[in-house]
Structure formats: C-alpha cells, structure tokens
Amino acid sequence: MTSTTSMTGTTSTRTAVPAATDPARAARRARLRTDVSLAGRVLATSWPLETFIAVNPLSGLEDRPFDEAVRVAGEVLGARGTLSLAELRAHHTTGRITDTDLRRALGLRFPDLAEPAGAAGAALILGDTQVSALDVLLADLRHGVALPPPSRAVLTRAEAVPAVAAAVDSQTTKWCAAYLDAGQAGWAMPGSEPGSERGLYAAWRALAPRDRSLPRQVRRALAALPARADDALLDALDRLRVGADEQRVQLRAELTRLPGWAAHVRWRSENGSGVDLVDYLALRMTYASLLLAPGTAPQPAPPSTPHPPSTPQQPSAADRARSLADRLALGPHAPEQLAALTVALERLPASDRPLVWLEAFEGHYRDGLLARLAGQPVPSTGGRPRARAQLVTCIDVRSEGLRRQLEAVGPYETLGFAGFFAVAISFTDLAGGAPCSLCPVLLKPRNEVAERPAPGRQDAAERRLSGLGAMAGAEESFHSAKDDAAGPFALAEGVGWFAGPVAAAKTVLAGPYGRARHRLQRAVAPPAETELSALDGFTPEDRAQFAQVALTMMGLTSGFARLVVLCGHGSTTENNPYGSSLDCGACGGSRGGPNARTAVALLNDTDVRQHLAGVGIEVPADTWFLAGEHDTATDRVLLLDRHLVPPSHHSELDALSRDLEQAGSALAAERCADLPGARPSSSAQRAARHVQARSTDWAQTYPEWGLAGNAAFVVGPRSMTAGLDLGRRAFLHSYEAHVDPDGGSLETILTAPLVVAQWISCQYYFSSVDPHRFGSGSKTIHNVVGGIGVLAGQDGDLRLGLPWQSVGVGDRLVHEPVRLLAVVQAPLDRIEAIVARNPVLQRLFGGSWVALAARENADDPWQRLGDHGWQPWSEPEGTA
C-alpha cells in the first residue's frame, strides 16, 4: 500500500486474509466483530501478574459520568459501585461521616435545598414536627430501607439451564488456562506455543472434538466447525436464536459471565498474541449452543427471548415516605403529610443515596485536606540556602512518608515526579534475557538501554553472571524435578532432609533466614559495578529534550544542591503473586531503579548540561545527579552506582546515606502502627528490623499496604505540603507555574501522571467497594494459573483487581474508597484551557471521576471547576 506518513505515522502491509465471497456474509462478519468490540468495552483490561497494572475496572465506561457508569456496571456486571448503605452508615456511627457532611453533600447536589432553606427547602409540617426537605432527605439517607445488591440484568442463554452454564464455564476455564499459559505448565497446549499463529480458536478446534467428557453428537458437531472463528460464532448465535437486534446484548452477557478470563483475553488481543474476544466467544457460545441443543441439554432448551431483567425494583417515593414516617415515629400521618414527604423524597431516587453518602465521605476528607493546605505559610520570595541534598521521588503516595521523614532529619529538599523519570525505556539487565518495558502503559518504550560492566570491572561482572547462572540452574533443576512424573520421589529422598528444616526456618525465623539467604546470594553472585548504555540509547536531541522537559516539569530549574538523587522505588516481598502491584506503576509494574540510573546518566552528561544552560537552566558544575531506589517494603533507600560519584562528593554521600537510613527507620515505625501483626515499636531501629523480616517472610500476606489510602493528587510546589503529615494518602507532583508559562508541563502532568493516579485510585476504590467482583478476594485461597492470574480455589473465573489483603484486614476495610481529588496550584485560566482541549480531562473532571480544586497563588481561596466555570470550593454549582 502506498502511503504518506508523518513522524508519528505507521504503515502496515500484511498478508491478505482471503476475501469473503458472499457480500452478505462478509458484512455480517464485520458487524459481528464490531459488536464484540463494543460489548467488550465493559471489560477491564487485565494485565498478567508479572506486570500487574492498576486500572480502572470501569475504564470502558469512563465516557459516561461516574454515577451512570456504576449504574451500568450494576446492570451488566452485577457489581456494586459504592459501599453498601450499611457500610456507609457504619461510618456515620463512628463519626467518620457526620450529619454536617451529609447536609453539605445534599446541598451541593440540590443547591435550592442548601441552608438557609430556599423555597424548595421550606419547612414541612408533619404532625407536631417541623422539618425541612433537607431534613427529610437526611433522614432517608440515615434510615431509609436499603436496596438489594445489584445483579446482572441480562443473562446468557446457557444460564437458563444451570448445568449447561456450569459446563460452559468449566470448558472455558480449562481451555483458556491451557492456551493462555505463560510458561507455568509442564506441557504446552498444541498451538499455543510462542510464535504459533494458529490462535485460540484454531488450537481449540483441533483438540475439542477429542474431549470424551462430551456427548457424541457434540463432539461430532465440534469436528465440523468452520475454519474461521467469526463464522463459528455466527453459527452459534443462529443456533441460540439470537437475532441481530439482540446480538450485542447477548455477546456482552456472555463476556460478563466470566469477566476475568474475558478481560485477560482482551489484554492479549491488544498485545498481538493470537487470541481475541471473537475466538473466546466462539468457544463459549459454540459449547452453549451445542449443549443446549435437543438431545444434549440436561433440561429443555431456553426460550429465544431475553431473560427478564433482574435489576431490583426501586421503591416508590411514596413507599419510602411511609417507611420513613414510621421510622421517625411521626404518629398517625395524614395523607397530606405523606404527600409532602413523598414530594421531598422524589428529589433523590433510592439508588442515588449511596452516591450522596460517597460525596459526604469524600467531602469530609477533601475539606479537611484543603483547609490544611490553605493554612500553610505563604513562602517568602527571597533566596533560600542551598539544601544539603535534593531527593526527587516518585509521586507514589508512599513517597510522601519518606519525603516528610527525610526533611525532618535535616536541611533536605524533596520533590515529586513520575517514577519513570521521563525516560520510557526498554531495559535489559546484566543477565540479559527479554527486555522489560519500563514506562507507563500509556506509552511504548522509546529508547533501548542495557546494563553492562563498568570499565575495568569485566571480571567481577563475569563472576556475578556465573553465580546468577548457577543459582538459576539450581532453581530450574529443583522445579523440573518437582514437575517430572517420577522426579518428586527422588527429590524427596535426596533433599527432603534439607528442604524440611529450610521451610521451617523460612516460616519461624523469617528475618534471620532472609539475611542468611541474602548473604549466600551475595557470596555466590557477588555484586559487580555496572553502568547503563544510557547515552547510546538516546540521540543527542533526545537527551537534551529529556533533560529540559524533566527539570521543567518538576520545577527544578535553579537552586540545585550538590547532590540531587532521583529515587525510584520497588518492593521486596516473598511468595507474593501480586508483588508487581507494589512496584512502580509509572514503570509498568516494575522496579524503578533502571529509570533513575538512566535519567541521572543523561543529566550528568556534559553536552546535556550545555544545552540546559542554553535554555536558561544553569546546573552548577558541582551538582551531581545520583540514582536511588526506595524499597517500600523495608523503607530502605539504596543509593545506586556509588562508584560513579566523584570523590569530591563522598562525604555528602555518606551523610545522605546515614540520614536516609534514619528517615527510613522512622517511616518503618510509622507504618508499623498500621501493619497487621506488627507491634507499635518502641524504637525506630526495631521497626526497621521488623519490616525487613516481614519482607522476607514467605507466609506474610501483608508485606506492606501499598497505595491503600490514596485519595489526593497534589500538583504544586513543596511549600504547599511541607511539614504536613498527609498520612501517605497523597500523590505529590512538583510543579512551579512560573517556569511553565505556556502550560506545557502542566498539560503533561494532567494528561499522564494524573491519569495513571486515577487508574490506581479506581483500582483501589472498586476493589474495596465490591471485593468479589472487582477484587480478587483473599490471597489465602489463591491458586496461580498459567503465570497470568489467580483463581480462587481450583476452578472458575480468573480473578480481577487487588486481593483483599491490599485493601482490608479481617472484615474491616483499611482503604477508604473515595474518588481522587486533584489539587492544583496554577493560573486558573491555564488549567481551564488545558481541560478544554483534552477530552480525557473533560471526561475525568466533568464526569466526576476526579474532583478538581485549584488556586492560582498560595494565598488564594480554593476554587472548583464546574459547568459554569470556577467558583468557590464550598459553594454549590451555579450559586456564586
């Protein structure tokens, strides 16, 4: 195909699929494919475990307002989009949500009811009692009868016959687990091998007719399936008597029956691995149609009409009024009193009550946070003394604690920036192997970077590689023996005497065992000094652009310290399938050290410094950029590539190391107050030892709390938050409006880091409000399947979202499920212009997925952006 392309354009010419000979059939296939795409929008995209990425499970519904999206999720997925009324009311009992919060939430939703009462809020006379409409709604919120939980409104054809539905699910799990296996299985399913182009449907079609557990006529029909998945799916739809009008709805019902498998197939299809939702649906609906056919179905075939919706009926306002009158003991109520109550209650549908509670829940936190930020001293405009060192951490909420503790130790400055440090790299470590994408999933890697021995350290690197190879070989041999048919017996005889005590030591003496193993690993594979091929992976233009963009975005264009540490993060845990969920989201669910090392290599480059000076960013000659990595499980910060630091900076480096250790210990003590099973420590050193031991404990289901509690995203200078304990609940992105006159940096912050933070926020939110549908349940019954996900038990759906141990303990939620609040200090017209040209921001802010509070200067009051422009934060829309 001839074409013109731009810098960002791509052209594809591939082997042609045989053209359809029947135009009507071809059009039907195309229509089917689109219906599958549209039906699949309700699914999340589920990454494999090794690169667990926090996503909004309702991302496909983000083009709708939040309220509507959770309603649709209730109908389609049978999932709850908010805490239940009982859970929310329990927060009222504890005082976490107050009547004041509820009144304010009602006032924001219904400005005409806001106190002092307007016409609609005028008092109602109920017997001897006089109440306002707002009082009535408040009473309904607190005492009204709750609705039953949602359930899927449209069921699949197979669900009319439970035995068939179970058989279809079982077949789906069996074949998907076999085909999608990522190297865990001893035997790969034929046709699923890496590089195979057959795809799920073709691989399944070749094997399914041999399944002796199926009736003969089903096997015969499977043997006669068409070669194309879309044709098989169309045939199945015909057999199930699904008409064109109903097609998309039925496809969606089929996808949401086991949304975990479907979500992972969706991810695989977007990553070009030979499987898509058409394959998946062809498999499921073929089984359903054949098993429901006369003679094979355990019960009569289902009707051809859709099943009646099972969405619970909303109680009428009149019913609620009667119930409320009884609850409030208003005595014998006259019809006119009930009518007045009914009119008041009609304003708020019963299904919206949890949303008002949610707004009250959020308002309590948000108002408190904004008040604390408003109380911060306005920074002076004069110069400030040079900091002992500067630490640039990831925006991750866990960094807030580290920054606060380090600033308490000494005259350090800290900043926040997305943890990939603006270098989207494909990284290969010293051991080689497959490169790893270290960047947000919003991006594709742009540069290749490899680790290599430092000059003169080739021998040490070879010793390390040899040791790593020996350890990997031993591990592989052990696992091969375990998986072999006869090997386990010999293995038990040969090493059982050793493995038993080791397992006991790992369990009972996790800390000493972890330290001993660490020493052994260092002895077998001693660390070697290395460097990265950072400069080779970037053109001179890329290096210059990176440095300018990164420093401008974080507002670090002057006042450089002698040491500036770019500090990535990762989490060291044992036996934790969800380990990558604790690593850096901005680095694609991996540790951020390589990104920090790459970025500092570029920032220390002489040519880059010259370019920076040319654009007005004078980095002093004595400033050295250094990489670090914060282990969020142990709160230790490792300073990397110390061998590259010039001798002139060694004394500062040693002092910084000591201070980071002190700050890390203090942070560990802070965290021990919240970690299940940890005793509030009498000393920071003891706390540091505890979290260290915890991170090596293979039985520990709570190695750390991750990003639980996240609730706000603050964009602005550190002076907004310095000295405040934000409880590790806020993403902190540094920004200085005065160095970004065209708003380019702010636009990047709002369209990338904020978007990723919102995904994380939604992942935690939905995993908390419906842990069974949006979360993966308890870790204690998880079975890893195929290396791609977990099952709860040995069968069923691939579980989505975060495990319960990421959001709660016992039967108590630890994470507060609230939507993200973005707090921005920048000119309001700049923010408004950025939102106006970016639909992604219009959806997030306009759809109430994220709230936005902003002010231009530190001494200005907070404003909210609504449909009618900016107005004071505390006033409802349209009342300014």
């Binding site: 053209a19 689109t34 639909p839």
Partner: protein, 107 residues
Amino acid sequence: MTRTGLTRMTKIEVVVSGQDAAAVRELVSAVGATGWTGLSGVSGLGHNGRRQGRLLFNTQATLEMLITVVSDDKVDALLAGLRPLLDESSGVMFVSETYVSRPEYFT
C-alpha cells in the same frame, strides 16, 4: 472522473480515539484489506470541540487517523462494521473514490 492507466478504488479514512483505533485496525484486516496507514496524535476542531494533538506522555488519549484503500467488493462489509462503531464512539469517517497505480497491492 477518469485517470488514464489508474484503477479506481475506495479510500476510507477514519479518525477515532487511540482507544478505539485497535478495533478499527482489526476490522480493516478482518474484511480482507491488505493494509492501512495510521497517523497518531491527530489534532483538530469538530463536533465535540477542540482536540489536542500529540501528548508527551500519553499516546492513548489522542486521536488517531487510519486510512485504508480497498476494492469495491470489500467496501460494504467494512462500512457495515465501521458505522455501528462510530455510532457508539466519537470520531468521523470519510469515504471517497481514489485511484491507484498498482491495484494488486490492494486486492
């Protein structure tokens, strides 16, 4: 309109969000088109207001333009798939006559 020595075909241009582009590409391939050209980071002004072009750290939130050229026998099938997709998404589609010098590349 005629073009001596050239072969008439149909050009279909679709502008959709980066998130929907994969569905369009899949559809184009599924109907038997032999290729497509993609332009990411497309900016403009339309029914839904102004759209920003390329974003520095987000390639999913911007618009993408996909262009394909197909023979007449594939047009209806492709449109049958594209129209419902655009009914449910923001985006535009342009269908026009075009002429190519090497028709075997497109069939």
